[in-house]
Symmetry: C2
Subunit: 223 residues, 2 copies
Amino acid sequence: MSTDFGHLHKPQHMKRDLDIRVAIIEDDETIREGYAFLIGNTSGYKIAGAYPSFEDAAKKIVHDDPDVILLDVELPGISGVDAIPKLKKLLPETHILILTVYEQETLIFRSLGNGAAGYLTKNTPPEKIVAAIHEVMEGGGPMSANIARMVISSFKRNESTPLTRRETEILEQIATGKSRKRIAEELFIDLETVKSHIKNIYHKLNVHSKADAIKAAKDNKFI
Amino acid sequence: MSTDFGHLHKPQHMKRDLDIRVAIIEDDETIREGYAFLIGNTSGYKIAGAYPSFEDAAKKIVHDDPDVILLDVELPGISGVDAIPKLKKLLPETHILILTVYEQETLIFRSLGNGAAGYLTKNTPPEKIVAAIHEVMEGGGPMSANIARMVISSFKRNESTPLTRRETEILEQIATGKSRKRIAEELFIDLETVKSHIKNIYHKLNVHSKADAIKAAKDNKFI
DNA sequence: TTAACCCTCCCCCACCATGGGTTATTTACC
DNA sequence: GGTAAATAACCCATGGTGGGGGAGGGTTAA
């Protein structure tokens, strides 16, 4: 099942300790073999294994012992996103690099949340894929430009919030689960003042509950 | 106050519409002039202005009209982080690229939250700085490798959570401000079951309130 | 100097949620 | 066949939430 082009260009018995061992989990055979050929023929890199699904990988990947896994997010059987924690359990020291056509926010953030070290789209040129493998080995976090843009904008607050500074502050406190009383104490204001602010927040956001206010504010990046 | 090396290598009247206009806000004169020289002498790029502080920039930057601003986070007077929203207000279409020696998480996340389009450390080689300017113009989000690593790991969940899947799910719902009753309805389970899960969560996290549970879980990246 | 906005505080009301104790069942995976 | 997880039930006392109104003092900008 595994594919190894390492012997094509250099003797394994000499350099295998220095080579970065790369595994590929990708259901499309053409793409899988293409990456394997690319990486296997790059000096300093070696294919440790190539598998069409997580189920296939699970049987051999611990023995193949890769340093970096290139992982597709859409796989037959268990999805790539859900495979991440399972792979981390099998190989805790191995870096997982997502390589996929998908650019949906949920897939990106679920992948990174599950422990992926980087996220590349498949239009990434070969030399950048190799550079990204090197980068994860150095502790970096390689991302395609559009992925990086989405990741960065996920941090960005909405500048045109209808909430005042105090209202934003209080809504942030509410979102941490604190009671109005505790918020009042920590901000050194009266409970009645907190209640007034909350009423104003609810009016501005057109909601009638804590949960709806938090959701509206998060959706609009007011907090 | 502004520095312009554009005339050194090409006629402004011909190519100025095609050049990317770059401004620099950096208090260290040597560094500021160095970047200005680098960028001004790169084909396709032009220095629109170079200023030692936000206060100096504020007077002229709207007239200088840059496409990209290179911004230091530590400046005399108003800090670079706090200058970001003010610059965005003056020039809403302009991309802000942080260029700094600081790698503290709070500075990074506050910068990105305030609307920075990218974050580079000052050990970035000149050609990568120029590439990053190009990348923000294309809608990307350039980051130094170590910055990207910090950003990605901020998404990463803790795999060794003491909470079960259901407990994690319920604590996430609590963190959105929903009541136990509403959580029960949305998960199609009894209110008493939700209460049981919450009691177990509190025991495992050694807390005695909603707010403390949310804080403990967020601090440890259980949610 | 008004008006607008923000932050602050006060009263009223009805209703619902929270924290904690204990025990017990069913399901599912080693 | 045992352990862990998810489910549910009963008890208790306490506290918080949402919404109605009004009102004073501060700043800022037209």
